[in-house]
Symmetry: C2
Subunit: 214 residues, 2 copies
Amino acid sequence: MKLIGYFRSSAAFRVRIALNLKGIAVEHAFRHLRRGEQRAPDYAALNPQKLVPALVLDSGEVLTQSLAILEYLDETHPDPPLLPKDAVGRARVRSLALIPTADIHPIQNLRVMAYLREKYDQSEEGTLAWSRHWIETGFEAYEASVAGNRHTGAYSHGDQPTMADLCLVPQVFNAARFKVDMSKFPTIQRIHATCLKHPAFDAAQPSKQPDAEA
Amino acid sequence: MKLIGYFRSSAAFRVRIALNLKGIAVEHAFRHLRRGEQRAPDYAALNPQKLVPALVLDSGEVLTQSLAILEYLDETHPDPPLLPKDAVGRARVRSLALIPTADIHPIQNLRVMAYLREKYDQSEEGTLAWSRHWIETGFEAYEASVAGNRHTGAYSHGDQPTMADLCLVPQVFNAARFKVDMSKFPTIQRIHATCLKHPAFDAAQPSKQPDAEA
């Protein structure tokens, strides 16, 4: 399999953690998002959504959208699982995973910031304030969902990493880049610290990727 | 079970279609999003994310995030299935479902438009143009993913409705409200028309809900 990603992409970061957790070795290829390489015709032919990541299977099939890839990896490489066994627990984990994946990251990512700057005449500070606002709004929802909840453990759900943590950690990295005040989110901070002690999360972080830039 | 929704919420609309397809009868309750009723303390206690829909199980457990609810309904009421049987097909359907769910709707929904208007001094036309842009960008990705793909059938994947269609149809309704030129998306239009002939989709549409407004 080949993962096409970008060191700073939250979505690719989620998939890298899953591959590490499950011990799946893949070839790595890169598309430089700031240079717009994901819009090149050869990549659009592979992934018409023109986003990273894409996972190219040995059969030639191309999987896209990080959450769909996480579900695929969990179905085809079930050990260790990314979801709990009970249906209600699975729903809780997926709901938590969707807070960064649907409610935060798509609103504050590179392409939205670029659009705000170019078409809505926003300064650098205006776009940063935008991103901070949506990260904080989403983190308030995440914090309220995990703080004091009896299903929360060392990780977001119980004492093993789940899909929720795989989506949370890249968003916390983004929050740091945008200087979000994390002191309002103590449970997120605690879970994030636990995750980073896990080698699968640590090895997946942006600065440790072959295409990393300062 | 009780579904807490709002007639015009895309996310609630997705869940209504799934319930209809699977023949699951639920009690319906409503939170008026334009009046901000989803932020009331009694609702926040139930769903700390302060978004609709929420599905309250007979056990009292509360499920949130539409895609997590769709997966739960499919696991607990498998017939008819919302996902194909093969892992690669499941990944394709989930990836398609995530285009409206993660890449379009969160960027163009009510709260983002309100924030643009209030904090970024945008006129009504400025916020409408914003929403149209993100719907068109996402629909270009969806159209490119289904047009000419051998897995596309009468519906987005094969000849039965899947999770992808449940997420696509509410987004097409939104596109109509925002006057998106749909002639650029002939495959989406064809699939949408097929879906609306299905009673499960038809009965779920906003104008046919008890809380509908003109």
